[in-house]
């Protein structure tokens, strides 16, 4: 069992756990992920390793409540345990001194972009970071990102914090002003990564994205995570999760990601109804 020893609410729907997982913590590196299962009925869900402490034997997981499984996870408290955590999985980010790099994190993607930002900064890079979310309530970790960035641009779709813009707008300006940018990292919703890649393409800057597709095993056994790209399909769990965003077929990826939408809605509705009943029962008992 993998016990939760710390819980933090980062934003309206984004939560952070520090979890005991010594086997994972010992080997984890920035860019890798784990597969977790809430309980014996749970599905296998990939989550990025947002941070790790090999001495304490813990890892940090951050997730956004988007469906039944993540909502259930959100109800876990300190002392509760995950049924399973397997990892670290996937390739780690290739950390080097590239010179000048631009980091783009959208929504819950700010969590995985942070350890990469920190590692790149520590490797001597000059780091320009852009983080964005729909609104102020969904933003987090401006402080941590600031600490490891030479320049930080914050934006929200509704202008409730930082600049009122999508991340691609400041990104274009940054690239225009910094023709020497060697590499861009972009992590966030697939649609954001798609448009980030379209923005960087004319500048010819290599752009690394971290894909978060549907997965089952996470070890290369099912092919459910496959993504079409130039040169043929690749498995995100073993060939990735980071890829050159300019060769990904984003439209197929977006379609595959919404394949189970109606099933997800059904499971979410059942979960919410169930929670609602529990709340009512608790009220009645009082």
């Amino acid at each position: 069992m993998y016990r939760i020893i710390h819980k933090e609410i980062l934003s309206e729907s984004v939560k952070l756990f520090i979890v005991e997982a010594p086997v994972v913590a010992r080997k984890a590196r920035a860019g890798q992920f784990v597969i977790v299962r809430n309980d014996e009925y749970g599905e296998r869900i990939p989550l990025t390793i947002a941070d790790y402490d090999s001495e304490a034997g813990t890892i940090t997981l951050i997730f956004q409540e988007v469906g039944k499984s993540t909502m259930q996870m959100g109800t876990f408290e300190v002392g509760d345990s995950y049924e399973n955590i397997a990892g670290p999985l996937g390739h780690a980010t290739e950390i080097e001194n590239y010179g000048k790099v631009v980091m783009v994190g959208g929504g819950v993607g700010i969590a995985p972009i942070f350890p990469i930002t920190r590692a790149l900064k520590q490797a001597g890079n000059q780091v320009i970071s852009i983080i964005g979310a729909r609104s102020k309530e969904l933003l987090f970790w401006e402080g941590r990102m600031q600490e490891y960035s030479d320049e930080l641009i914050v934006c929200t779709d509704d202008g409730s914090a930082g600049r009122k813009a999508l991340v691609t707008e400041p990104l274009k300006e940054v690239l225009e002003a910094n023709r020497d940018a060697a590499k861009v990292w972009a992590i966030g919703p697939a649609i954001m990564m798609k448009f980030t890649c379209l923005t960087t393409k004319p500048f010819n800057v290599p752009t690394i994205v971290s894909l978060n597709t549907v997965m089952v095993d996470g070890t290369g056994m099912c092919g459910g995570c496959r993504v079409a790209m130039e040169g043929g399909a690749r498995f995100v769990c073993v060939d990735g999760p980071e890829f050159d965003g300019h060769i990904v077929d984003w439209d197929i990826l977006l379609e595959r990601m919404s394949f189970y939408r109606s099933e997800e809605q059904l499971a979410t509705k059942q979960w919410l109804d169930h929670q609602c009943k529990l709340d009512k029962a608790a009220e009645a008992a009082e």
Partner: protein, 476 residues
């Protein structure tokens, strides 16, 4: 030998009627009663020079155990089997007996062969119900530690044999459940979860520790494990699914058989939303392939609620590699077969698959496998509508282990071993099962694991590792 009158036909297997069983995931066959098992066992001629033993990859003394069954000495029968086969409830259900023991049964020349597999299954199930709890005679601890990678039939067999010899054994398994293909691949209606659990429990009762959620190569490499363990057995199977590489293959609704079966069996998607993992319930489901995996997928589709389940296979019925019983059961259940048909493209809209474009084949000259090669008939293209398509054309070993350590590999990423000892090119490391052959069978995996465990025991006791440089360089 006294003349006895032999029943020319084998005792029929009681089973759920096809109409009923396609609505549930319960086991198709009920298994023999004591009376049926005895009736079947007395059909054995007790040949002086039995051919069936050679036909069995683990050389079970078949006439002996059948003689015990004929005398209603069921405990003695299971004891004979367990000498060389630690998972009889499983092999009795899933071995391709028609190509093994039953295929060479002398009776088969004139009549139907003895239903050896069915009797084997009977005694294994009898033991689970009535038998004395397996006597665990703990061997004197050897003080040596062995690691086993993968909890499939190969890994479980090696672990059991090593534990019986007194070694301290730890099994590392990537998934959250032990059993390998037995847990994630073969459906409950053919091999119930409880049967697998029973066998896994037996292995742990020997003192074997199973560490789940542990992906070797990622959480620790083989070299790191060698610092802590005196020897390692690799039984990681052939888990990497093949795709056809045809246009449209990444449309939603196109699954590898591994994914489809894993969702249904391991993750229990057939009980969604009680279990969280979803699966697409197709109206019309096509499965591409002709092996056990394809039969399992096509029959699972029916049980999930498909109206039509269609197999597309490029050769003819005679060449299908699936167990005869599975093909027969699939037919009874209404699975439709398109033989001599090859897929050429998937078509769909809005990211969802809608049909499979196929081409007709003729049988040409025999190919390398000795089977007649399918040759496409130009211009014979046609479409089959489907909202779920399952690719079940085979699989090869996952490269995770080979990529993270220095070890010799052959065609398709199999590990190269010395066939006499199952030693790999790496000192202290042995391998067996699908990882050295590519997709094969449960019983072959177990047979190789037994050879490996014996050689490992010797290595652990003596520390002598010779012949490493002669590692077999031919691929299987």
């Amino acid at each position: 030998m006294p003349q006895k009158k032999i029943n020319p036909t084998r005792t029929p297997m009681p089973e759920q009627p096809a109409k009923e069983r396609i609505r549930n995931f319960n086991e198709v066959t009920h298994g023999y009663s004591e009376e049926m098992a005895v009736n079947e066992a007395i059909r054995c001629l007790q040949c002086a020079r039995p051919t069936c033993i050679q036909g069995c990859p683990v050389n079970i003394d078949i006439p002996r155990f059948l003689a015990h069954v004929a005398n209603q000495e069921f405990q003695d029968a299971i004891d004979v089997i367990k000498k060389t086969n630690c998972l009889p409830a499983i092999t009795g259900r899933v071995c391709p007996q028609e190509n093994q023991c039953e295929g060479v049964c002398v009776l088969a020349k004139k009549y139907e062969p003895v239903a050896i597999g069915r009797v084997e299954r009977f005694v294994a199930d009898w033991e689970a119900e009535h038998g004395k709890p397996a006597a665990v005679n703990p061997a004197k601890p050897s003080g040596k530690k062995a690691a086993v990678i993968g909890a499939g039939p190969a890994g479980l067999t090696a672990a059991a044999d090593l534990a019986k010899k007194g070694h301290q054994v730890t099994v590392f398994e990537a998934l959250h459940k032990a059993g390998g293909v037995l847990s994630y691949g073969i459906p409950d209606f053919r091999l119930p979860t409880d049967v697998v659990r029973r066998e896994v429990d037996y292995v742990t009762s020997l003192g074997v520790e199973i560490k789940k959620d542990f992906v070797v190569g990622m959480a620790a490499t083989i070299d790191e494990l060698l610092e802590e363990y005196d020897a390692i057995f690799i039984g990681t199977g052939a888990g990497l699914p093949w795709f056809l590489g045809l246009p449209g293959e990444n449309l939603g609704g196109v699954y590898s058989a591994n994914e489809y079966l894993t969702r249904s069996n391991l993750m229990k998607a057939y009980l969604f939303p009680k279990y969280d993992t979803p699966i697409a319930i197709g109206e019309r489901v096509i499965t591409i392939g002709g092996g056990n995996t394809a039969m399992d997928a096509a029959r699972t589709a029916l049980r999930l609620g498909a109206r039509d389940s269609i197999i597309v296979y490029r050769r003819s019925k005679a060449e299908m590699p699936a167990r005869a019983e599975e093909v027969e059961h699939a037919g009874q259940e209404g699975v439709q077969f398109h033989f001599l048909t090859s897929p050429v493209a998937y078509h769909g809209q809005k990211g969802r698959v809608q049909s499979l474009e196929c081409i007709k084949n003729e049988l040409g000259e025999p190919d390398a496998s000795g089977r007649r090669r399918p040759v496409p008939v130009e211009g014979s293209n046609f479409q089959i509508e489907a909202d779920v398509i399952i690719v079940a054309i085979g699989q090869s070993p996952s490269p995770i282990i080979a990529k993270t350590t220095q070890i010799d590999t052959g065609k398709g990423g199999i590990l190269l071993v010395d066939k006499e000892t199952m030693k790999t090119s790496k000192k202290g490391v042995f391998a067996g099962g699908d990882i050295i052959t590519g997709g094969a069978t449960v019983i072959l995996a177990m047979g190789q694991a037994k050879i490996a465990a014996a050689a490992m025991d010797e290595y652990l006791r003596t520390g002598i590792w010779e012949k490493a440089e002669e590692a077999d360089t031919e691929s299987a």
